[in-house]
Amino acid sequence: MNTILFRKYVPFVALLGLGLTACQPDLEDDFKASAGTADFSRYIAVGNSLTAGYSDNGLYLEGQQSSYPNLLAMQFKQVGGGDFVQPLFKAANGSGYLTITGFNADGTPQINPEAKDNNGTYVAPGQFATGRAYTAAGVPLLERYGATDNQNLGVPGIRIADITTASYGRLTGTSNPLTFNSYFERLLPSATDTRSYLDYVKSQVSAVNPTFFTNWLGNNDVLGFASTGGTGAPLTAVPEFTTKYGQMLDALTTGGAKGLVATIPNVTNVPLFTTVPTAAVIAQVSATPIPPALVPVIANLLKLPAGSPLPSGTRFGLYIRTGAGTNREATANDLLLLPARGVINTPSTTSPFPNGIGLVIPNADAPTTAALAASANALASSLVLDAAETKAVVDRTTELNNVIMTAAKAKNLAVFDANAYFTSIARTGVITNGINNTAAFVSGNLFSLDGVHPTPRGYALVANEMIKVINATYGASVPQLNAAAYRGVEFP
């Protein structure tokens, strides 16, 4: 009887099962991934810190793993892409990097270098703990990569201006930051390698024989100047940039590879330049009453008769240094760099005024105004990008971006307009699957603790934007990443 029952009901049960299986809707045919006219089987990435996966003022394992080339390669794999080899650090800390280590009483985060030396004390990022770095001639060097199969050729700090510099990765007695780069040094097979970055790229191109490349160079040709308040490396001249950028694209396309280039974001949109609210700081300094105890000291400084009151309207002012021995009062058009936050209004050992502070007497005669400026404890020029410098940076960015777009057009390459994208992020932020992300420092999820380089989520968004452009240019359907699955700033 059991058998009969069984035979009787099996078809029904099977039918029910079939019905339920058929019930599961399937959308996968609607969203089939495809490579279009591109071929992603061998991918090579050229660029600077952004390409290397630099984050939190350092290059470390997690950052490398969330570098946009690595994320792109992951997505390319779904449309025929092959393996992608990165020059990963064996030690997770890499070069060392910034972390939030605690909170001040007012709730602001305390940000410290993560790397510790053997004594447990902090060392500056870019310095290396014993046992994790090779030390040569007193200059700390990074753990050498050692292999030659590298496909992520990103070198933090490199400018287009640097790409033909010979021995850029060879430490000598005369090496300086403009002729030597320890991140490049670690990629080279030996300490005596004299190749320029361009030559290195050429040899990797012939070794890998890429079918697809990305090139995001150029940022440091303006950032180096901007991030030092105009005191560091000069802005790269347009003709030099044009020549060298062309040489790089020629090297990358020799084998007929297709690819994508990215423009240079206007760096003054990033938290390094936007976090300290200049106007508010000026207002706060100007409104601070002069303590009565200071009045005689100031009167003496102004060479006023003993006991006389200060001239009417005398107040504190925020001063910046614009050149050797030249100070002026700051205006709302000056961009105060992020590190200025930790300097302004801190006690000074060399001046009676706290750092950045001086005196202002409205409507005083020119000699008095000049004398007050000279006596002020002005902020170092490296902490301020003044209006003229800002304009120079923005103008040069536009010029260099025109060079990039013209060169890309000549070779029919995809262009990711990073400048337009980061400008829109600075204005409105971006929402990823219900999560708000903005360009705000620490809380915005997109920029790491150095205020310039993205977080893993920021890099994932960059990868997605590149994918959109690649899809549009090459008729491909490379799937995007779920950027919300990548973290913003790490909290303790």
């Binding site: 959308l27 909170f103 709730g107 995007q480 919300a484 913003g488 909290f491």
Partner: protein, 416 residues
């Protein structure tokens, strides 16, 4: 700038809360009706008339008890905008049920009865780590209505009826992930609805032995949760001070429905029904949660719904093959109350097309069994990130949803 303002600037973490929504109406009261596309307002098939049109109850010949149960298998596919990865639900089964008991004198003009049914409900469990996790990870919405009903035949052709609709049991459990800068926390809202009263009423008209007409109305009930429990998990100690709420309150409208129905009986053996339902979904404007303490700086979380009133069209028929055996078939078209760009994961709603079939078999004079099955197909529906931006509904996720539902049901009838 302190940590609090920093986090606030990052946007309210609880911006996109969730609750139930559009397709949370379940029209599965009578198993016979289920087999016929859900028609019933213009018919007087059995005791389930208490749900479809209490006015028709007085025209139901038999007195009796009937018990019905359904298994709802909802299967959903989601692909986020720009992705090619399909997300599927962690599959679950819900079991809407119904009980109808009607009694009245054999030759009298009135019938009284009691109905128990589950007109609103929803259960969805999304895949681990899916793209919409900050909108919703799990929802379980339940309601049980109890309805004492009285129906009176004014003439042989005209009867009226009304029921007192009691929201006897309502429960909601909503869960979602809370985005923190470097991880995801989790929030669970769990609450019971207060007992609430509403009514339904209907008129049934039988101008000839071949034609019947019905109209019915069921009032809106606001399902109201007070003192629901809020539980946080996986919130790292750094952020714990910002997630202090322990209680929540919320209100969810269970909208009013007006229905018109026609019955046609061309022969003794053949019955056709056509129904139109009109549901006042526009009552559902926003879903708002109020908390006893702040969650990331706010004690209120509000999310746009902006539903619109919607029609459902149903058609079905039955054929009495033998005295004991009846076969049924039907279909329905259901307009979604959810506007484009407003689709939420609690109700990944879209216009629906259903096909239904059913059978009954009578074992002797008093006892019969009904079986039905429905296949509901929700149209594929896409909303883009741009749509969400335009509607300021970015608290949900952009992508394409597609849902199919299979609902087998079984009913037992005892008549006397």
């Amino acid at each position: 700038m302190n940590l609090k303002t920093l986090l606030l600037a990052g946007g309210a973490l609880l911006s996109g809360t969730a609750a139930s929504a559009g397709g949370y109406q379940v029209s599965l009261a009578g198993i016979k009706n289920n087999g016929m596309g859900g028609v019933g307002v213009g018919l007087s098939l059995d005791q389930a008339a208490m749900f479809y049109n209490p006015g028709a109850l007085a025209m139901v010949r038999e007195r009796g008890v009937q018990l019905g149960g359904n298994l709802t298998f909802a299967r959903n596919a989601f692909v986020a905008e720009g992705s090619s990865t399909q997300r599927e639900l962690r599959n679950s089964v819900v079991t809407p049920f119904s009980l109808f008991a009607g009694y009245g004198p054999a030759e009298g003009k009135f019938r009284a009865g009691i109905a128990v049914y589950t007109p609103f409900g929803s259960k969805l469990q999304y895949a681990e780590g899916w793209e919409g996790r900050t909108s919703l990870t799990d929802i379980d919405l339940k309601s049980v209505f109890v309805q004492p009903t009285f129906s009176y035949a004014l003439t042989d052709q005209l009867s009226v009826g009304a029921g007192l609709v009691v929201l006897a049991y309502g429960a909601v459990n909503l869960q979602r992930d809370v985005p923190l800068p470097d991880s995801y926390g989790h929030i669970e809202l769990d609450g019971k609805a207060k007992t609430k009263l509403g009514y339904n009423a209907g008129i049934f008209f039988k101008p000839s032995s071949k034609l019947t007409l019905g109209i019915s109305y069921r009032s809106k009930i606001d399902a109201q949760v007070e003192d629901g429990d809020v539980t946080f998990t996986n919130i790292s100690p750094t952020f714990a001070s910002r997630f202090q709420a322990t209680k929540f309150a919320a209100t969810l409208p269970l909208p009013a429905t007006t229905s018109l129905g026609i019955g046609l009986m061309p022969t003794e053996k053949l019955t056709f029904g056509v129904d139109i339902n009109y549901v006042n979904w526009s009552a559902y404007r926003t879903l708002e949660f109020r908390f006893d303490q702040q969650i990331n700086g706010s004690t209120v979380s509000s999310s746009k719904r902006f539903y619109q009133d919607a029609f459902t069209f149903r058609v079905g028929g039955q054929y009495k093959v033998t005295d004991a055996f009846t076969a049924r078939i039907g279909g329905a078209y259901d307009n979604s109350p959810v506007k484009d760009g407003y689709v939420t994961p609690e109700t990944p709603d879209a216009d629906r097309i259903s096909g239904t079939a059913g059978v009954s078999y009578a074992f002797g004079e008093h006892f019969s069994v009904d079986a039905s099955t429905q296949f509901v197909s929700l149209k594929k529906r896409t909303q883009t990130a741009q749509d969400l931006q335009n509607n300021q509904t970015t608290d949900r996720v952009a992508g394409t949803y597609k849902t199919n539902i299979v609902i087998p049901g079984l009913g037992l009838n005892y008549t006397f």
